[in-house]
Symmetry: C2
Subunit: 211 residues, 2 copies
């Protein structure tokens, strides 16, 4: 068999700096984590729309969408969730290297998996390009919202190992940002996120700064 040692990466001739200059901002990853129903996808898609209209190159990777494509071979057992997040981390890094702001919106319940995603990004990009955002809402609130009816199914025993019902959610220890959607409206949460992204990814690029 061919071994990994036989395979050497080839350097791209278009640098990250050139990609970022064209985007008008830095590439990087905004990693949203939180319970099902906390508002990750809602905020991610709203942020994508807002910042795209402001001239940003931004793309959402979303648990629901990814599982219909790249990750449609994976289930929800611990190993599958870990592999799900491993792959998303690498795709996010790839988008960041193209000068995109990649907003990933996954429950990503396990700390170790999120750490590996961070490392996948940090391996390929300069420091400061991966930001963990804790989209926080208490379980009662998420269960009341239950936008996909999944909590109801989990309580009825029709779904096993559902995060925060009968599987663990390991909250971030040092997130870059906390958005509390129990207390804050979508509009206000979105404004906070927009300011955060602008300050982290658009600052320092001078006159190329969008919007």
């Amino acid at each position: 068999m061919i071994h990994a040692a036989d395979i050497k990466p080839i350097e791209h001739r278009v640098s990250l700096a050139e990609r970022e200059a064209r985007s008008g901002h830095a590439g990087g990853v905004l990693w949203l984590t939180g319970l099902s129903g906390a508002g990750k996808s809602t905020l991610a898609f709203a942020l994508e729309e807002t910042l795209f209209r402001d001239g940003f190159q931004i793309a959402v990777l979303d648990g629901d969408n990814m599982r219909h494509g790249l990750n449609d071979d994976l289930g929800f057992a611990h190993a599958d969730r870990t592999e799900n997040i491993r792959r998303v981390g690498h795709v996010a890094a790839l988008l960041a290297m193209l000068g995109y702001i990649c907003v990933s919106a996954f429950i990503s319940p396990y700390r170790a998996d999120r750490e590996k995603a961070r490392q996948a990004v940090m391996r390929d990009l300069p420091p400061g390009r991966f930001h963990e955002v804790y989209v926080r809402a208490d379980l009662a609130t998420c269960e009341m919202r239950d936008p996909k009816g999944l909590y109801r199914k989990a309580r009825a025993g029709q779904i096993k190992r559902f995060t925060a019902v009968d599987d663990v959610y390991e909250a971030p220890e040092r997130p870059s940002l906390v958005i509390d959607t129990t207390k804050e409206s979508v509009a206000r949460s979105l404004a906070t996120l927009t300011r955060f992204v602008t300050s982290r990814f658009a600052a320092g690029l001078g006159e190329k700064e969008p919007g």
Copy 2:
């Protein structure tokens, strides 16, 4: 367990048309296939550089690079090669949906795998966005070039199941384009590819057509 039926894709609020208008050209996939040493990566990276400088949004997915990231869990057995190409097809589709021209450069020896990659792109995008390009060179030429020393190892029995040595290469039956690198120089092959991409992805976008 959660089932796939519980997971519904969420519609992105930024359309493909908007992404493409910003790129100034259509999004799509140029799928290069051919033997190791045929020149896929050389042409892909040269094309990326040329068209990026001309204002295109273009990105290469390359076998060597992908295997150090997303696909670093895969070997080279038949099932692993199939999974490698399956994942690349989905990532290529994702980039195309962002209005990128994705140039994938993989041996991708099996016809059925390439067909699945095509389907992954066709599922998400309008017709005419996936083009198979056969980068053709005879085995003797590839073996003489042997840029990574892999043919030598394969002949010495140090690598098993190497494409065209002791594993099959299923040539495209109806490729959109054939580049014969045994007969044509890199410069000429690159010119052919550049014209092809421009005619397929930049035509019809009128004054938004890049440089």
